[in-house]
């Protein structure tokens, strides 16, 4: 074997070792990763496909602290929509400003998906039903059916069983991230992705569809969920599960539930995606079932459709799965109205 070939093999092995160390030791890895932009964020969908044409700089707001849980009148719990600070402050803080009530946003890094296991999560933090509160529980549309199965189940905090420990030791997202974003591979990868898009029309698989005018990326999982047939039985089952959660929250903690399903971007802007089928009315159907079961809810899909008119500013970012500041503020206004109806809002105390 020639010296040149030996050197190539040695370089490959060393590069692999470098990537593993860079991924697993962040302080080392950070030296070889392009710096994150300051003052703005790049959309999550842009990060998936890295197509320059869809790059947008999204302003990020430094979140202010939400009210302490003991003082709160309203609790919010949700996925990335409720924890997003793109364009404006946290949903909980905007809601507090709108209603004048004290709002606490439930969040946890130690508990796996508290928004999927609200009962187990409240139990894990030793929540006491010392006063009547309202919980605004949010889920993105594509996860509702899945979460329907977990709302009343026991949750798993990270680290309380062997599987979770193994998961933590073995998850290599950090290594994969470092491989893709280190100073050597990142520019090559981005060039390749843009070359494939411009010349062959190929986009990363996580992007299921896109529109060029106006520019808009659609997440593959949203499209899959949009195309999935959701039978009446499936909708009823999800509603049953949410109703059971609502009853359990009331009984155990004296909490009144308000349930919000935030539509996938694809559901609202599907007209921009090529070959999109018409909306199957999942959110309105679920809301009707919830109302029938006495669970307070908000049909965010119908709400957003009213604002999705030509010439109006977008409700979602074109390169991100989340809502814009406008989308968030529309939701805050509507949620405040519902809460006012439940006697939780104090308009006089508005911030």
């Amino acid at each position: 074997m020639s010296v040149a070939l030996k050197s190539v093999y040695a370089l490959i092995m060393l590069f692999a070792a470098f990537v593993v160390i860079g991924g697993k030791v962040p302080s080392f890895g950070r030296m070889f990763v392009a710096a994150e932009p300051a003052g703005y964020a790049l959309g999550d969908q842009y990060r998936m496909c890295e197509l320059d044409r869809f790059r947008e700089e999204i302003p990020v707001v430094k979140p202010s602290a939400t009210a302490p849980i003991g003082e709160a009148d309203i609790l919010t719990l949700g996925d990335s929509f409720f924890n997003s600070t793109l364009g404006s402050d946290l949903f909980a803080n905007l809601l507090a400003g709108k209603t004048g009530a004290k709002v606490h946003n439930l969040q946890s890094a130690a508990f796996f998906e508290p928004q999927s296991y609200p009962l187990a999560y409240l139990e894990s933090i030793g929540y006491r039903g010392d006063k009547r509160r309202i919980l605004v529980l949010e889920s993105v549309e594509r996860s509702v059916l899945e979460r329907g199965g977990s709302y009343n189940a026991a949750g798993a905090s990270a680290g309380n069983d062997l599987n979770a420990l193994a998961f933590k030791l073995l998850k290599n997202n950090d290594v994969e991230y470092f491989f893709k974003h280190n100073l050597i591979v990142e520019p090559l990868g981005r060039w390749l992705k843009n070359f494939r898009f411009e010349n062959l029309g190929i986009v990363d698989k996580s992007i299921g569809a896109y529109s060029s005018d106006p520019e808009m990326l659609f997440y593959q999982r949203d499209i899959q969920f949009g195309r999935m047939k959701k039978s009446e039985a499936m909708v009823a089952q999800a509603a049953d599960s949410i109703a059971a959660l609502s009853a359990a929250l009331k009984e155990r903690y004296g909490i009144d539930l308000v349930y919000l399903v935030i539509p996938d971007k694809y559901s609202v802007y599907r007209a921009l995606a090529p070959h999109a089928e018409s909306y199957d009315g999942f959110i309105p159907r679920l809301c009707a079932e919830l109302t029938r079961r006495g669970v307070k809810n908000l049909d965010v899909y119908s709400l957003y459709c009213r604002y999705n008119k030509p010439g109006m500013p977008p409700i979602y970012y074109s390169s991100d799965t989340h809502y814009t500041a406008l989308g968030k503020s529309i939701l805050v206004d509507a949620a405040a109205e519902v809460l006012q109806g439940m006697g939780a809002a104090h308009p006089g105390k508005r911030r």
Binding site: A16, G201, I202, D204
Partner: protein
């Protein structure tokens, strides 16, 4: 860990680095540790526990069987070992299916309370290493092989990562000596292994995953389609499954080759078969050999007095087992049953078939070959409907509507863009050409002795194909589920 993941592409050089640092004496330990890590990366600790359990039981049983002098003791040990291994497989893969069906029966015919449903476990790889363990015990019981005395090598035989998740199912006699021999870094094995791995990746990432777009769209929402669209989706599924599984096998064989191990070839142009029997000699070869040697042959011996009827029955049972091995669902049982029926029926109609060909003057003609290949392919495709459908009613829907118009065809073809269609259409002849070239190479020609221009042309095209046309989907392999 998927072969088509970045994680795996980093895992291989790191493993080589560890091998280099550890030296030849600890090769088995590094490979075993690497294999355990590879399996653990699926993030289900109980899978490794099951593997360790099967390895310990089979290792101990193997030695005890070899040392046992009494025939009764031997039989008891053998069946004990086989039962222990199979109980792991049944417990992890079939219990929910059994519980579900027992509850259905109980609900139908009695007032007894339903059996509580257990947790559904992930069983990736379990059926493969259990089958290997069983074959190891059978070979020792029949005194074909001697037991492995070194537990490390034995555990590595079951756990060797290139074939752990999806086969090939290796016999102890083939694999253990290779694991023991080692041999250090071998440039020739490394480059052929790398080439085969890349070729497998091309089949998976460029062709199979692209075909999946069309197949999944149709089979994910069957009732929106009918006739020609269902037919097309079924043909495409036949191709997808083949390129997915043979792509995986190429990657497994290539990876093993890099570590100086030659695994069993699992495919040999199966869709060119002229009979179902030939199909099973060309499709998932290591599995076909396993069921032939360890299920069909013993059964046929037992039923030999019934002549053709006995053979037919043995075939039927063997392929029903094959169906169940693929998954705990009635769809797989029907799929296996269909292949059993095809093979059993062929025993009886073969003489008649010969007569017809002779009368028509087609015997051994090109027309006969093409006709037989086409019929076999369609019989296989028909059975794939049950293999792919998510439930028996879904499969029956496809069967009932196969010749019922062509609804959804235009939408299907336009939904995924022209580029995907063009890439699939161009890739299929390329794969065919490579198959022909590989057949020639197998006949004694060495690719690496070809002119540098040709070799580098191939490397360049393969790398360009992978970089520019891969699907980026990191999708799992279909046979992981089995």
């Amino acid at each position: 860990m998927n072969f088509n993941s970045i994680e795996f592409l980093l895992f291989i050089p790191v493993l080589f680095l560890c091998l280099y640092l550890a030296g030849e004496r600890l090769r088995w330990l590094v490979l075993l540790g690497g294999s355990c890590y590879f399996y653990l990366a699926l993030k289900h600790l109980y899978l490794l526990t099951a593997l360790a359990g099967v390895a310990a039981v089979s290792y101990a049983c193997g030695i005890a069987l070899y040392n046992c002098r009494s025939a009764r003791g031997k039989t008891a040990l053998f069946w004990g070992g086989v039962a222990a291994n199979l109980s792991v497989l049944i417990g992890m893969k079939y219990l929910p299916f059994l519980e579900r069906n027992l509850n259905l029966l109980l609900g139908e015919f009695s007032q007894l309370p339903a059996i509580p449903q257990g947790r559904v476990l992930v069983s990736i790889g379990v059926s493969y290493f259990v089958f290997q363990a069983v074959s190891y015990l059978i070979d020792i019981y029949l005194e074909i092989e001697k037991p492995e005395r070194h537990f490390g090598y034995f555990a590595l035989y079951l756990a060797f990562f290139p074939k752990l998740l999806q086969g090939p199912i290796e016999r102890g006699g083939d694999l253990l000596p290779q694991l023991r021999s080692g041999g250090g870094f071998n440039q020739e094995n490394f480059r052929s292994g790398l080439l085969q791995f890349s070729w497998g990746l091309f089949k998976k990432a460029v062709v199979a995953d692209r075909l999946a777009l069309y197949v999944d769209t149709v089979y994910g929402d069957l009732h929106a389609y009918s006739g020609l669209t269902l037919l097309l989706a079924t043909y495409l599924y036949a191709l997808q499954l083949y390129y997915d599984f043979s792509g995986y096998t190429d990657m497994a064989l290539g990876t093993a080759r890099m570590f100086n191990v030659r695994l069993t070839q699992n495919f040999n142009a199966p869709y060119l078969s002229r009979s179902i029997a030939e199909f099973w000699r060309r499709w998932h070869i290591s599995f076909s050999r396993w069921i032939l040697d360890y299920i069909f042959k013993p059964l046929q011996m037992q039923l030999r007095d019934w002549r053709d009827l006995g053979t037919a029955l043995a075939l039927l049972v063997t392929f029903l087992v094959s169906g169940i091995w693929h998954g705990a669902s009635w769809c797989f049982v029907i799929w296996g049953g269909l292949h059993g029926v095809y093979l059993a029926a062929s025993l009886f109609y073969k003489p008649l078939q010969k007569k017809i060909y002779r009368k028509l003057g087609l015997e051994k003609s090109r027309v006969q070959q093409v006709w037989q290949t086409a019929v076999t392919f369609h019989l296989v495709c028909f059975a794939w409907i049950f293999f792919r459908a998510q439930s028996v009613p879904d499969a029956l829907y496809v069967v009932r509507h196969l010749f019922d118009g062509a609804s959804g065809l235009t939408e299907l073809l336009s939904a995924h863009g022209d580029t995907d269609l063009a890439i699939v259409a161009c890739s299929l002849p390329v794969i065919w050409l490579v198959h022909l070239a590989r057949e020639r190479l197998a006949a004694g020609r060495d690719f690496f002795a070809a002119p540098a221009l040709l070799r580098w042309g191939v490397y360049f095209c393969l790398a360009a194909g992978l970089l520019f046309f891969n699907m980026d989907s990191n999708a799992g392999f279909i046979y992981f589920n089995f």
